[in-house]
Symmetry: C2
Subunit: 343 residues, 2 copies
């Protein structure tokens, strides 16, 4: 370990009280004393013991993130990882620690309870909310500050959240494809137990209906967003009697699977079939026309993580009163030839 406050005080021939005050910026300390203390602390490499400080103040200076194991395909999802990275940045900057709790599916609620009851964290971030999600009620009841990345429905009490405007994003993407003349647009959606997937489908359906286009169930598919899912969706849908001319999807992994599936069928992307991805950044492609239409890039997701974490910290430190909410618009990059109609 390092040196303790008491030892530091003894070395300076001061009381622990004064040293503590000097280090924590209390005004009643003589400026000369403060300088002396700070210098000595730095020289001795003094760092206050987290646990002792926490015990005395009643705050953990830590924020918890709970990751259920099944969802941990999820952790592999760049969206998820980037969000965590962004949040971690904010915590570090604020002098908070991030506690990640990876637990079995059925132990998720216990994990929240435990983190709170043991006093390990001052606040919690809730990931991947389902359309109906009991965690919001649970955490409200437990009285621990929390922030949801996303939203959930049918919750009576207000709660803090930060979300991408998924409905609007998918609506715009669909409109774009429709303007290009597409009529058979396939939606390769995430699991529709998830709130974000419902919203995306709503956006897609709004745009289709507004354009007077029929909703063909054969063109809508929903599952966990993996590569195999994308691959199979591409293969199976293109083998239908009347295949889609465009695919709209939401995940980098699904998009990879889709593209591979289409290429394996001998189709040329952007000519014979279009793939519009939600979270894919393909701006490195040489042809400007191949820039994707529509992206929630890594940097924007990380930004979301930073922002959500900062909002949570506001609440935790009492600088703001919940609920705090934020609806971010997805970045929209226009000019994609991958949205081009079959010629």
């Amino acid at each position: 370990m390092g040196i303790t406050l008491k030892e530091l005080a003894a070395a300076l021939d001061l009381s622990p009280t004064t040293v503590s005050r000097a280090l924590n910026g209390y005004p009643e300390v003589n400026e000369a004393t403060r300088q002396r203390v700070q210098l000595a602390a730095r020289k001795a490499g003094y760092q206050p013991n987290t646990r002792a400080k926490g015990l005395a103040t009643g705050r953990a200076h830590a924020i918890g993130h709970v990751i259920p194991l099944s969802t941990s395909h999820e952790i592999v999802n760049p969206i998820f990882a980037d969000f965590i990275a962004g949040a971690g940045e904010s915590y570090s900057r604020a002098g908070y620690d991030m506690v990640l709790s990876v637990v079995a599916d059925d132990a998720e609620e216990d994990a929240y309870r435990s983190l709170i009851a043991r006093g390990t964290v001052d606040g919690l971030m809730v990931h991947a909310p389902r359309h109906h999600d009991s965690r919001v009620a649970l955490l409200s009841e437990l009285g621990c500050p929390f922030m949801v990345h996303g939203r959930t429905s049918e919750v009576t009490s207000p709660y803090s959240w930060l979300d991408i405007n998924n409905k609007r994003a998918f609506q715009r993407a669909t409109e774009f494809l429709i303007e290009l003349g597409h009529k058979r647009i396939a939606l390769i959606n995430g699991l529709e137990t998830m709130d974000f997937a419902i919203r995306r489908r709503n956006g897609y359906e709004s745009a289709m209906q507004a354009a007077g286009l029929a909703l063909d169930p054969a063109l809508i598919r929903s599952a966990e967003m993996t590569e195999p899912f994308g691959y199979r969706a591409a293969q199976e849908m293109m083998r239908q009697p009347v295949p889609p001319t465009a695919f709209l999807t939401s995940s980098m992994l699904v998009a990879y699977g889709l593209r591979r599936g289409l290429v394996d069928l001998g189709l040329t992307l952007g000519r014979e079939v279009s793939v519009i991805t939600h979270d894919d950044d393909l701006s490195y492609l040489p042809n400007g026309g191949d820039v994707p239409l529509f992206t929630a890039t890594r940097s924007s997701v990380r930004e979301a993580g930073r922002k959500a974490a900062n909002m949570l910290l506001e609440v935790v430190t009492g600088r703001a009163a919940p609920p705090l909410t934020c609806l971010m618009e997805a970045a929209l990059v226009v000019g994609s030839s991958t949205g081009r109609l079959r010629q």
Copy 2:
């Protein structure tokens, strides 16, 4: 919060001492008393305060992972996320917390120092070791138990690590391609400041040299493992006077870029050009012949995380004395048509 030990003791008309002993499995407690205490604790939802326990015992019951910000392209790397997920599993099971510290590049060493000095963690996991990495010396000096995921060179003191046998893996993959008749094999490697990349190159070079094949610098490229890197490598290499007939690479993202780059050139994967990926699992592809040769799949990386965490816990709890080491062989799936020679 919850109820405290003292309150629980008062309610049971016992001393805190006895309650503590009963709950922590000390043998000298009357079995009847223990039952009574455990029942009451469960009913009251009692959870010991982490910080108080830590203060009293001197252990944090937490393990730290430090993620430098620049590397946090890295966090997006499925390999990295899966490892964390696996480690998190082990920690949870052992009743340990995982503390993730995301910090600016130049603050990495400080982050380690701080985590240790503040007593926030009992042990540390070191990620993405460079070929020459000062962190091992630092942590050895600080005397904090740690475990490296990977290895580093030129370190005098022994240290604990868990690594994939990268050299052997790439050697075997190269041999496989050579057996298929490939002579111009491109290596699209990770950043060669990283230890794993050096080892992979060594494996590749050994196999090439053993087969009497020349090492063409034009066929070796090294950079951070992103999609754009793969795309550009494919495009540029295939435009050389004598292009490669096969690509050997190490990352899912690079492989995606590579494949897209090749497809954009109008080439057919597995027929005109081969791509062998280290960490890609494409076993979902319908054609058995398209199963990838060579994988460090998500599940195996997660397994590595679990294992590394368990080893670290062994050291932290004093059940084993460092250094603990483990060299895992990469899974090898033979029979890939993506390794097929140009026909």
